[in-house]
Symmetry: C2
Subunit: 177 residues, 2 copies
DNA sequence: GTCTATAATTTGATAGAC
DNA sequence: GTCTATCAAATTATAGAC
């Protein structure tokens, strides 16, 4: 991927994480990147293409930040605590919602390509968490625990974001840690 | 409130719950109600006015459905189970996300009037749940439990909606019931 | 790869007639 | 209270020059 495309994706991600899929336009992105809107169309033909690409690279980056599960175990790090930290950092450092949490909320109004990528984010995260719970507790209820954790984290992000208080996030997820 | 305004609010709510604040327009609403877009402007001068009104009446209806807490206790009904049912019904009967859950996710991109109303939804719900936990358990950790429950329900709604499976909702919130 | 130019559509909003 | 008429701006998208 070229650096221009990276720039575009970065700007687009920020805008989507602020107000959802309909909160960005080719012109606005072009202005911020310093090119023309038609140039954005060159890299991403349609809005759905760009939206799906944003969701795809967000998922990749997110899983990268989680790191390799086996290595975490080897280093005697609690994978669940790592997982929580990645979520929390999104709220405190990026100062924005989880992109796929937001797009997940409005999934019924998204173009199929975008909705599909959002679904993949959730599937891959549940997969990661399920493995983490299996390694940690060896329980057969690992998948249920995974869905519980992901749901609680996404919901806590919304609560904390609306009420404008990071302590709300910490209190809501207290039972996880 | 007149019936026309009710009609407009009803149609608008449905559209917002599908794709967020930017997923409805005065023209689309007018078409579905059977009037002209300028007539919608008569009832709700600006889009922010309409958005805030939708959030306000959604909150009122939601709290109405919860019912009076003291009466629930008197009738020996578990208020938490009632609360969960109201959320679950939104997903199964209305077949849509919680309006304020969705708007809460994109709160950073909303006009202040709308964001304010969304915030009130969360405040009032935490209040209701806190009282419920106080009555049920008499615990001082009632507010924390309230935030946990609300966050988990909103997050579970997103998960279930994205993955297109109501069982995901039930599994995610299993620890609540 | 980025540009100019432009098209077609949609959008939020207003003025004034009935 | 609803309509017609209209507006300016924004939006997605395309064709073709450099």
């Amino acid at each position: 991927m070229q650096s221009r495309e990276k720039e575009i994706l970065k700007v687009a991600e920020k805008m989507v994480r602020k107000g959802g899929y309909n909160a960005f336009s080719f012109r606005e992105i072009a202005d911020k990147v310093g090119i023309k809107s038609s140039s954005v169309h060159y890299h991403f033909p349609t809005k759905a293409d760009l939206g799906a690409a944003v969701a795809f690279y967000y998922t990749e980056n997110f899983l990268d930040r989680l790191g390799n599960l086996d290595e975490l175990i080897k280093a005697r790090k609690d994978p669940i605590k790592t997982y929580i930290k990645v979520f929390r950092d999104a709220l405190t450092k990026d100062k924005h919602m989880c992109l796929c949490g937001l797009l997940g909320a409005e999934v019924n109004g998204l173009p199929p390509e975008v909705a599909g990528q959002v679904k993949i984010f959730f599937e891959r995260n549940i997969e990661w968490l399920t493995q983490a719970y299996l390694l940690k507790n060896g329980t057969t209820a690992a998948k249920k625990a995974a869905m519980h954790t992901l749901a609680l984290l996404e919901g806590s992000m919304i609560l904390s974001n609306v009420l404008g208080d990071i302590k709300v996030f910490d209190k809501s997820i207290d039972s996880l840690a």
